[in-house]
């Protein structure tokens, strides 16, 4: 277990190094930060002086070295726009994004498992066919379109749920303000969560259905029938536990991907999270903020995947986290 975590830490370090290198090297191509930083009235000489001061004229490796040295101490640079440490700016927006991702994950977990299992057990029923049909539609429609349609139908036409913002928040700790504890906050969470889950939910339903159908054909499920075990136990213990193994692996990667999808969802719903912030930062050529965002998202990927691997080890007895495969 300890060896596993240490190995994971080393891997994470390598991954973070690569991410930082890539994100740092694209920043030169994003545009001139000086144009956004200072007004038209500043003279060219002053601009050059400011460039020197910011270190923008140094060779790439010098710039990267300076960045990396600060980064390991938790300093990812200062946002040009907010004039605050970029990491702080992002972390302040992190709770909003995490709550959105959490909401979408809840929808995915609680709907994909029963629907996927049902579609696998009774593939010829009308409901199963409807689920599979809708899932194709869900996968095919881009998130921003789903989001806009949701806003139009449920917020504007029907008026069932609010269309933008986070609503009434409760202070939890630090700068964490949660929308989970008020009715208004939860109401604001509904549409963005559905929009964010609109791609992953169908994907998971289809994945679970396909895996489950394969597992149901396996010899050990046949043997369980031959033992006279109840269908409930066969479906939800024997088959589902094996079905979940690949689903957990894919799920870990997808949670990370969902963090990335929040850029679209948050923009449509004016959700004050990291994704929304990132899009603003791109518009403002706020390069330190962009780089910091990419690094934070990379870190979230690494952390979720590590957690998923730990969970996988709990579900699958043939995986030992020491790294040695017992025979």
């Amino acid at each position: 277990m300890l060896a596993f975590l240490i190995r994971r830490l080393v891997q994470a370090f390598v991954v973070m190094f690569v991410i930082s290198l890539i994100s740092f090297s694209i920043q030169d191509n994003l545009g001139d930060p000086l144009r956004e930083l200072v007004g038209q009235s500043v003279s060219e000489a002053e601009r050059q002086a400011l460039r020197d001061e910011l270190g923008l004229n140094d060779p790439f490796l010098t710039q990267y070295w300076r960045f990396a040295k600060n980064a390991v101490q938790g300093d990812l640079g200062t946002s040009y726009f907010f004039k605050e440490p970029a990491l702080d700016v992002i972390l302040k927006k992190l709770p909003a994004t995490l709550e959105l991702v959490f909401g979408a994950t809840l929808i995915i977990v609680f709907l994909s498992v029963p629907l996927g299992v049902y579609a696998a057990i009774k593939p010829n029923t009308l409901l199963a066919k409807a689920v599979m049909g809708f899932s194709i539609v869900g996968i095919s429609i881009p998130v921003f379109l789903t989001a806009i349609m949701l806003v139009y139908v449920f917020a504007i036409e029907l008026g069932w749920a609010p269309s933008y913002g986070r609503g009434e928040l409760v202070h939890v700790m630090g700068y964490w303000e949660s929308g989970f504890f008020t009715a208004d906050g939860l109401a604001h969470l509904i549409l963005p969560s559905i929009a964010l889950s609109s791609i992953m939910l169908p994907l998971f339903i289809r994945l679970i259905r396909a895996e489950m159908m394969e597992v149901l054909q396996s010899e050990y499920v046949k043997f369980a029938w031959a033992k006279g075990i109840s269908p409930k136990r066969i479906y939800f213990l024997h088959a589902l536990k094996n079905t979940m193994l690949p689903v957990i692996t894919v799920g870990g990667v997808q949670i990370g991907t969902m963090v990335a999808y929040t850029i679209l969802t948050e923009t449509v719903f004016q959700w004050p999270g990291m994704g929304f912030l990132f899009l603003e930062a791109v518009n403002r050529v706020d390069t330190p903020l962009i780089v910091a965002y990419l690094i934070v998202v990379g870190a979230i990927f690494v952390v979720t995947n590590t957690i998923v691997d730990l969970i996988y080890g709990l579900v699958n007895p043939t995986v030992k986290l020491t790294g040695k495969q017992s025979h």
Binding site: Y220, F223, K227, I229, N242, V315, P317, S326, H327
Partner: protein, 331 residues
Amino acid sequence: MALLEVKNLEVKFGLRTGEVTALRDISFTLDRGQRLGIVGESGAGKSVAAFSILNLISRPGYISGGEILFDGKDLAKLSTKEMRYIRGNRISMIFQDPMMTLNPVLTVGDQMVECLQAHTKINREEARRISLEKLKLVQIPSPEKRLDQYPHELSGGMKQRIIIAIALLLNPDIIIADEPTTALDVTIQAEIMDLLLELCTSQNLGLILITHDLGVVSQVTEQAIVMYAGRIIEQGPTKEIINDAQHPYTQGLINALPQQGIPGERLNQIRGSMPPLHRIPQGCAFHPRCDYADAICEKELPGFTQSGGCQAACHLVAGRIALKAKAEETH
């Protein structure tokens, strides 16, 4: 009355291209404590026959005719709930590949306890105690350790012993073993077969042994059935079938055994291969491969002819018996 009586069993598979009959006119009986072997090439319908007894044929297969009388009840007509009571309880099964039969994510103990608890109202402790007792019965090394182990921690032979222990959990009347040693090493094969034979005799268990290994059939069973293309072509006491096979197909199978060949020479084989189920030839299904095939074999399906203790479905055998009867008459 026999414990199990299968009468004219017919199994069909509903495929997109039309229905295919996998089993036709299968009839046999099994008494308490009797051991029956079903032999044949791959695709002969042996496994379908075994699985259909417990109504476990996977879709699109279904029992389309005949009766499976067990204890006076027709298993083919039972509801799923009544059938569940029979499975694993009165009739249990042993599968072909022990590597695939146990669920990889559940412990051996879980997989044994659940079987007991599905059929009896006992608590976990008691169920574990019975499980341990059965593990001892199948002579598994350090049985106490096994309950909390996962299948991947055990060897193939140990897994098959555990599967046999699971089959014995509720003291069934019949065990159906579908090629129980095919997936094992030769040395382990012998051990498992010996164990199965010993358990059947000591517990007075009925055994239906599906195999393509004639050696195993002659070692373990008292009665034997030879199947070809979904039909029984010869049945009778194992000894008679092995020593004096009537049907040319059975003779071919016995000749194909390595022991029958001359060292250094090519092994004997039956030419051709079993026809697929949707293209079974008219008349006797075996005639295209039979060295003795006659005009009648291509047209007419042979009925069973009694020869000694055996019955064979062959025109040739029928002709020979008729000739013999005539000769005796004229004497």
